[in-house]
Symmetry: C2
DNA sequence: GGCATAAACGGACTTTACCCCGCTTAGTAT
DNA sequence: ATACTAAGCGGGGTAAAGTCCGTTTATGCC
């Protein structure tokens, strides 16, 4: 034997042609998405447009939801880049609470832009539903919470709950109508709904960050 | 004309046979789910088991996710019944904050029991994803928040965020492994994860309910 | 009871996600 | 260079979701 025993941890890097095809497929998918919408993005159509076999598409992404997850992952990485190295209220340099507020508002914008992708990335039959799409957000929130001076609290769980409070409305609860062009008849405003969610986030984290005198339960 | 103009608001009640078939299909679906799991619950199989045509199944539920949504809706209604008329910490009679805490813990249990149904009820391609599955929860939380003496806050939005904080972990983030029989090797505990979520909820709402001195933004 | 009508039904048909497996090719060790 | 091997590729095959439309049936009205 050479030394395969040590390389078990690293599942061997993707082959060059495979990586090229992945990029090409993602770009093609994005183009189709922009020009024809998510409904037209079928596996067959994508394979044909990209000039590749259907089997290749499945090998790369596993499932239809997998494509959307990959697209979302990509966008999320770019977004996090801005968060980690952008100007202060969002990027580093501001006090943690301000950053948390700014982060929430930025993520709401982000999810609004990517709502179609994000929703299609959900997959109820998958063992780990959200895949690797949200951990980044959770980690960042977790990090900011750590810098905040909360009392005894389970920061990991709290980060998960706040992530859900941020993602949930746009992914699960707010209707598509409301998020697109809402009130056709001049009754309820509608586009203000997002402002409300944004303000709600500010209020939520402000309340949480306020040192409460009550006896907080700690993690075991 | 007779008077169809006034009856526009009420889309005409479901015909008796249709209602019977709906019940029968739900019961059959539940039986199949219990005996063979969600994967075996295909539209064809359900139709055959129930002795009905496939077209009927689709007419009643619209899609596969629709069946799970109907099942979840059903269970949720029963659950809410307990909430509205059960013994105090959960049911009426206790102070709002205590009820809110108890509600969260009860709902975590509920979602844990129905996790397979709830996850399959998600449908990323639907205009209104969660359909009518969560409004009940949101309404109840909203109601309790109203009884709490929070400062100026957008209670509707806050209720939505708390609903997400409650549903999100079990629906989106916690892996299926963790929720089923977790730690095979005796390393990390795992089942304690749910306790942590439960405690986290208590901590979260306690913090929120604590009157914060900061200037809270109000709804427009 | 008989009739009109809208709803419901059934099952063949179409589309689409996903699987499989023989063939090809990029990386690697000699 | 050459040979070896694991990864990648392709596209036909399967099964399940979702659609359509001709037929049947419940329900309200005379």
């Amino acid at each position: 034997m050479t030394e395969p025993l040590l390389s078990i941890g690293a599942p061997r890097a993707e082959r060059a042609d495979a990586a090229r095809n992945r990029q090409h497929l993602l770009a093609t998918a994005r183009a189709m998405l922009a020009s024809q919408g998510a409904a037209a993005l079928t596996m067959d159509a994508l394979a044909e447009q990209a000039g590749l076999g259907k089997g290749t598409v499945f090998r790369r992404f596993g499932s239809r939801a997998g494509i959307f997850q990959a697209l979302l992952d990509d966008d999320e990485r770019a977004f996090q880049q801005q968060v980690l190295s952008g100007p202060p209220p969002l990027g580093p340099g501001a006090p943690p609470l301000d950053r948390l507020i700014a982060y929430g508002q930025a993520r709401i914008d982000f999810l609004l832009r990517d709502r179609e992708i994000a929703r299609h990335a959900l997959d109820g039959s998958q063992p780990i539903p959200a895949g690797s799409s949200t951990p980044l957000s959770r980690l960042h929130i977790r990090s900011l919470l750590g810098q905040l001076d909360l009392g005894p609290a389970d920061l990991d769980v709290l980060a998960m709950q706040l992530t859900a409070a941020l993602d949930g409305p746009l992914l699960l609860y707010l209707s598509a109508d409301l998020l697109n062009g809402p009130a056709p008849a001049g009754d309820r405003p509608g586009p203000a709904a997002l402002d409300r969610v944004s303000r709600g986030w500010q209020d939520l984290v402000t309340r949480i960050a306020t040192p409460s005198p009550g006896p907080g339960p700690g993690p075991p």
